[in-house]
Symmetry: C3
Subunit: 299 residues, 3 copies
Amino acid sequence: MTQSLGGQESRRAPDSAPGLSGRRLRSLLFAPASRPDLLAKLPRSGPDGVVIDLEDAVAPAAKPEARPHAVAAARDLRRAHPELVILLRVNAVSTEWFADDIAEAAVAELSGVVVPKLDSIEALEEVGNRLAASGVGLPVVAGIETVAGVAYASEVLRPPVEAAYFGAEDYVLDLGGVRTPENAEVHYARSKVAVAARLAGVLAVDQVVVALRDQGRFTADASQGRAMGYRGKLCIHPAQVPWANSVFSPSPEEIERARRMIEVYERAKAEGSGALAFEGQMVDEPLARQARAVLGSVE
Amino acid sequence: MTQSLGGQESRRAPDSAPGLSGRRLRSLLFAPASRPDLLAKLPRSGPDGVVIDLEDAVAPAAKPEARPHAVAAARDLRRAHPELVILLRVNAVSTEWFADDIAEAAVAELSGVVVPKLDSIEALEEVGNRLAASGVGLPVVAGIETVAGVAYASEVLRPPVEAAYFGAEDYVLDLGGVRTPENAEVHYARSKVAVAARLAGVLAVDQVVVALRDQGRFTADASQGRAMGYRGKLCIHPAQVPWANSVFSPSPEEIERARRMIEVYERAKAEGSGALAFEGQMVDEPLARQARAVLGSVE
Amino acid sequence: MTQSLGGQESRRAPDSAPGLSGRRLRSLLFAPASRPDLLAKLPRSGPDGVVIDLEDAVAPAAKPEARPHAVAAARDLRRAHPELVILLRVNAVSTEWFADDIAEAAVAELSGVVVPKLDSIEALEEVGNRLAASGVGLPVVAGIETVAGVAYASEVLRPPVEAAYFGAEDYVLDLGGVRTPENAEVHYARSKVAVAARLAGVLAVDQVVVALRDQGRFTADASQGRAMGYRGKLCIHPAQVPWANSVFSPSPEEIERARRMIEVYERAKAEGSGALAFEGQMVDEPLARQARAVLGSVE
């Protein structure tokens, strides 16, 4: 069963499940497409979404043979977890593997495609064209992880992009800087991406923490990201998933506030009113989507 | 007596008092328009400016009846304090109250109008049109306190805007983030607004500190804001006013430097010279205005 | 002997030494053009580049007589140090001294010209025209040290600009802020300049540390700058030069990685391939230049 997501630009039925920007993505757990054993275990730690990775985690020579594993894993995961967000990370647009990766996405039971190192309008158009050519209307998760991606985030976070992650490691490598646990060197970029995502109505997922088993550091990093507007965390180890889910779960006060906001907003929309003041704040569709995502996390 | 401010775009006489950007606004104290008792007491703590608030502090149902209170309070305050900066905060452009709020501003003895959540060129134009329709040439203080406002600050900080504040609480709410005392989550936005304000020759006023009676925290927050280029602080409690005035008062060295700069600048202007090097720095009109504001604070 | 630099826009032979962006500039030591005694001693502390300063360090009245000193010093330095990066800092474009300063640059044995407070497309064009009129194709080091310079960094960092420095002191003065050792007030601007430089393929040099003899503070500040993508440091005292050289020298791992990257990149280029994935990162020409700069520092 293919899960419909119904993004604005999607060819799938709009009466189906909400697009990615309306889903909760507190945790996005990655595993290499070349490792069927790990792919099968992905849901165990309770992530909101899983990513079958054809990019960084798979060596160039192994990419062709990894694709059928990805398709099989997506099918098995979908069968066992009809509601799970299942994503395929393809290789970057400029690589020789991109076109074949996307072609594979067309036959898999996916919730969307993750496109890493997306950093130009041309690349975004290529993604759209390639998806259209494959006859799929999948939403895209954009990897913003180069200097150009950060600089042009506002241009790149456009449909079919419905979610985005900030990739600190690749960004700093591209910048020629040095990664530190304090994150000062990524503060500007990480802020800029969160702002661009909010403006575009795109759900923002925060950077990886490479110190795999350090709960204190993960929680501090995730809390920082949440304060900056991120809604979830890339996870590269199952142990990180419950930590991410905990940090990015709304408090009872936030849930109650979201409930009130949606109620008022829906009533105003039904009465034909556009902009809407709610408890001193103007509510627009992106904000309402955020609120629905908060509620989605407890329903 | 109506106080003339003579901004560039103002219809009032240009030979009158300087516009807001040439005033000192170390402290801007707010009180709800619905509370005549508090409005009357606003000047007691010695703020550089007072804001009669029709927005956040007044419930929707109470807004119509709050307007006459605002007008009466402005008249009384002006009579007793001819030199005080007296501002009226209207509701945001997109609200149903905006037009009537502005109409009220036309009859009050105001130094300017505060427009909250200003975040698009269209809204700025609407402000200009509405002021023109009311026949008043009042300068505007723009509230930059949404993600769009921060993103488009350079476009929004245009005449008749002569001052702006950064509203951290609303900004973070709009971003979907979390406010923290360390301010890391607003550092990008707070910096961007200060830069845009300086470029536009607009006076920048820093965020509220919600911990009403914590002098240490207020002073630290204000010092941070001052280092980033802000010239004053929004105050929501009279106790905060002397703290703000103290942090944002220039040191004797700064006063002496401003005096020398203005002297050299005026002489150069009289001699027909445009750009001017002063102690290794190029002096332009915005910088000269800053210097005059420094001097204004001790005259 | 005039050192050719062969930037893209240079009139000099392209088969000569690499432009500034391909050089290592871990340390750029300044001395006033009016002090021949200091100029002669510049190379002693081992800086990667020296700057003969006609701007801040020379009083207005002394500028005309400082120019011949600058020319003589450049000639002597070049004779003794054929490979040294020797730069002349002229006065800002808008000053009365700029044109004569550039004319002097044409006769000196320079590696490039430092233009302070560069902050508009018009000024950049004026620099290009003035250099062309003087018949020299010298690369330019742009001083980004005003609010406008930071705001328009992407527009200003264009050929013939091959390197840039961020000037924190002048920037904060222009902003109307306050300098602090923690650098929070420049974090946004310092980040933005590093990003714009990387995008433009321009080498970025970090801010001055005014506490002349405080090694701990210099090293912390330089490490911060390096993490943010800067490749070197402005130095205003010979003691700072070895500290800068140490912080900005690549580690053995970085050298080894650069070597592998260049090898793969050159092979791909020889085979006619454009974009190139190297260890999970897309390699383009600016990144390859960075890698060459790393290697240049040990050859």
